[in-house]
């Protein structure tokens, strides 16, 4: 289907295209100087030294959990309204996901009081998701985790550059580790890709090792004569990002601040246009959008299906996500009525880098004409 306004709009600049092609011309495609540079630049922007580029956000979540020492028989608390990859990552390391409810029917972010309610002696970590680029309460959850001696992993897979409440710091820099995604519907569309961020050297070293088969040297070291052979010291993975995507990521970081400002302006325009609409509510307060790095725009309707049909008829692409507790694999493991109520009522409308304010007006007027 060809959309008038689509969710994914990853038109690349000439500089981004050239960055990718230049690496191909050079012929060194994996784990080399561009990936190191991409990690360094990301580290500068987030203010954390230990950044590791990985193949996807999902891979990053799994590596971060392993880096935090989460394994068999451990429990990990996470919001019921999040992308299923977070729950799958917990399962992949052999741990049990324990779902916390949403804050309210209108706010999908993890209900902080559920942490105290659900924590057990087996709880080793909390995954805090920043949905749709809107920051959750990183600092207060971090304090709670510290007090209980459990780890905090920030799932920033839809929040590159959002600021943690009452700080000037990116979400992902507050917890013990943060994970980002370079999915193609976000502000840094690399096709597939991710980044793991961890200030603690021991955690980032472990993630680095596991990213490439726990080998004590990589192909690049051997190519340069820095190593001739290797040992394998753990059960690792191939979760590497390749050099062309890293090179493109470097270019995207250079324009990220501008892009986030643009996204904030689009979100504010949606917010303003929909204000006073009796049928539609938006989950966020104005000041939350000012520190967000919006990634899609969620709206709520009691007749969500009719709304989505109407938008589809006008060739405006929308999406909606189930709560993880509504999926067969995880159903029945927790009671999360607020998350499921949010899931049933929300609809994500387009908000992406190349959209214009006119596009927002087209979508907003289609929403308004019931």
């Amino acid at each position: 289907m060809s959309w008038t306004v689509s969710l994914e709009n990853s038109e690349l600049s000439d500089a981004e295209v050239d960055a990718y092609l230049d690496v191909l011309k050079g012929g060194w495609l994996t784990m080399g100087p561009r990936t190191q540079e991409f990690e360094r630049m990301f580290g500068t922007m987030i203010g954390v030294e230990g950044c590791l580029a990985v193949s996807s956000g999902a891979a990053g979540l799994q590596l971060a959990l392993l880096g935090l020492g989460i394994g068999a028989d451990d429990e990990v608390l996470l919001p019921a309204f999040t992308f299923v990859a977070a729950a799958n990552a917990v399962a992949a390391v052999g741990a049990r996901p324990v779902f916390c409810d949403a804050s309210s029917d209108d706010d999908p972010r993890l209900a902080v009081e559920d942490i105290a309610r659900l924590v057990s002696p087996r709880t080793k970590a909390v995954i805090l998701t920043h949905p749709f680029g809107v920051p959750a309460a990183s600092e207060s959850v971090a304090a709670l985790c510290r007090a209980r001696g459990i780890r905090l992993l920030e799932d920033c897979t839809t929040a590159i550059g959002a600021l943690a409440p009452d700080t000037e710091r990116w979400v992902g820099a507050i917890g013990d580790a943060g994970v980002f995604s370079f999915r193609s519907d976000g502000p840094m569309p690399l096709g597939e890709g991710g980044m793991v961020v961890a200030g603690d050297d021991a955690i980032s070293r472990h993630v680095r090792l596991l990213r490439s088969h726990a080998m004590t040297s990589v192909t690049w070291d051997r190519h340069r004569g820095h190593a001739t052979t290797y040992d394998v010291v753990d059960i690792g993975f191939n979760y590497r990002l390749d050099e062309p995507r890293s090179a493109m990521g470097i270019r995207m970081l250079a324009s990220l601040e501008r892009d986030i400002e643009h996204r904030r302006a689009l979100a504010a325009r949606y917010h303003e246009a929909l204000r006073g609409n009796a049928e539609i509510t938006t989950p966020w307060a104005d000041d939350e959008l000012a520190t967000a790095a919006p990634w899609g725009f969620a709206i709520l309707s009691d007749d969500r299906e009719a709304l989505r049909r109407r938008l589809t008829e006008r060739r405006i692409q929308t999406t909606a996500h189930p709560a993880v507790t509504q999926l067969s694999r995880y159903r029945g493991t927790a009671e999360c009525p607020r998350a499921e109520a949010f899931a049933a009522r929300h609809c994500v409308v387009p908000l992406s880098s190349r959209m214009t304010e006119d596009d927002v007006d087209i979508v907003a007027s289609a929403i308004a004409t019931a």
């Binding site: 289907m1 709009n9 990853s10 038109e11 690349l12 981004e16 295209v17 990718y20 092609l21 191909l24 011309k25 012929g27 060194w28 495609l29 994996t30 193949s55 996807s56 999902a58 891979a59 992308f83 299923v84 990859a85 729950a87 799958n88 399962a91 992949a92 052999g94 999915r183 193609s184 569309p189 690399l190 096709g191 597939e192 088969h213 726990a214 192909t219 051997r222 190519h223 340069r224 004569g225 001739t228 052979t229 040992d231 394998v232 010291v233 059960i235 690792g236 993975f237 191939n238 590497r240 990002l241 390749d242 050099e243 062309p244 589809t312 189930p322 999926l327 067969s328 694999r329 995880y330």
Partner: protein
């Protein structure tokens, strides 16, 4: 940097054009480009289903899951292989059981040792087509069928190689292929799973996309994006940009392999009378191989480190060791204690892999062969 690297990769103008078109399409993630690539690779292999993935490791993982491998199970694997063959077994919660190779002349998994290591817990046997040469998958397929276990092919080195008129990677339940940058079909990162079983292909498509019951591409096309998750999946997705690159290189794959075979035959001819080394495989096997690498075995394994050092430092020639045996790595030694595998251990100690890439010149080859003779004191 070495004067002559062990592998080298060159992109052609048509590769760059294909990638540029994909990058400018405004759609990077897996979609119609990936679907077209899967069909093209399936056609060239002669199998009904190919699933493009983020790596060959991912393909092995999904192949083992397809074989029903889970906690408490055993999977018989060679140790003379890249570590991923075994680590993907551990991802499934199962135990890798290492079998020896047949010998230095035929350094692939020994069916007789496989038979000795079969137990009631064995779920699958993995054959690695080492260096681009066929493991005895015809014999292994019969053995596996007889014992009711799955045969999986680690075809990382053989995107297009043969055994008895049939493409490698199509003998077992599933074949796993690599698109890593130093491979025969190099894309950077990526892999394929090939299978003739439609249910396995469908399940692998779900598992590569988090376990979601309809993949994102299909949802996007239909406008219907409701999905369920029946089992925990992963993000093993490929993307349309790498698909475009792979599609372009796939057009030249047979020519590239023919070049590799000719270079291999030239190496073999230049080295055939050299004392102190052993050349694995036969000339007939070269003709059916992918020519991935040029392995030689030193008759005196004590010389391996010094030999490689001399080539590197005196002649600027990079070599590599494929492979240090997996069962001897720290991560496996204690966790999965394995009785001695004499052929594998000897192979790991005595192998040296010489440079091989499609634009290797005859002058470079002569220099490499000269350096080999010099290092052996001939």
């Amino acid at each position: 940097m070495p004067d002559i690297p062990v592998f080298d990769l060159r992109m052609e103008a048509e590769d760059l054009e294909a990638v540029e078109t994909a990058l400018r399409s405004g759609r990077l993630r897996s979609g119609s480009g990936t679907a077209a690539l899967e069909e093209a690779f399936a056609r060239q292999l002669g199998v009904p289903h190919v699933v493009a993935l983020s790596s060959c490791t991912a393909a092995l993982h999904l192949a083992y899951l397809a074989a029903g491998v889970g906690p408490g199970d055993e999977v018989i694997v060679p140790s003379f292989t890249f570590v991923a063959t075994a680590s993907a077994v551990v991802y499934c919660g199962a135990r890798p059981v290492f079998a020896d190779i047949s010998g230095l002349e035929q350094p692939s998994i020994d069916p007789a040792d496989v038979e000795r290591k079969l137990t009631s817990r064995t779920k699958a046997v993995v054959a690695v087509h080492f260096g681009g040469y066929a493991a005895p998958v015809d014999e292994l397929a019969d053995l596996c069928a007889h014992h009711g276990v799955a045969l999986i092919e680690d075809a990382a080195h053989t995107p297009s190689a043969w055994l008895g008129g049939r493409k490698l990677g199509t003998f077992g339940l599933a074949g796993a292929f690599s698109l890593f940058s130093n491979k025969v079909l190099p894309v950077g990162e990526g892999g394929f799973l090939a299978t003739s079983d439609a249910d396995i292909a469908r399940r692998c498509r779900e598992l590569r996309a988090h376990g979601a019951t309809a993949d994102a591409w299909a949802r996007d096309e239909s406008g219907d994006d409701t999905y369920d998750v029946l089992e925990s999946g992963f993000n093993y997705a490929f993307d349309d940009v790498r698909s475009a690159l792979c599609m372009s290189r796939l057009d030249r794959l047979e020519d590239d392999i023919e070049t590799r075979r000719q270079l291999t035959m030239r190496y073999r001819d230049l080295l055939k009378d050299t004392t102190g080394i052993l050349l694995p495989y036969t000339d007939e096997q070269v003709a059916a191989s992918s020519g991935y690498v040029m392995p030689i075995f030193l008759e005196d394994p004590e010389l391996q480190a010094a030999f490689r050092q001399e080539l590197r430092e005196n002649d600027g020639i990079q070599t590599t060791v494929l492979y240090p045996p997996t069962h001897l790595f720290s991560a496996y030694r204690d966790r999965f204690p394995t009785p001695a595998l004499p052929n594998t251990e000897l192979a790991g100690q005595s192998i040296v892999v010489l440079p091989m890439f499609t634009h290797l010149t005859h002058e470079q080859q002569d220099r490499i062969v000269g350096a080999v003779h010099k290092a052996l004191g001939r």
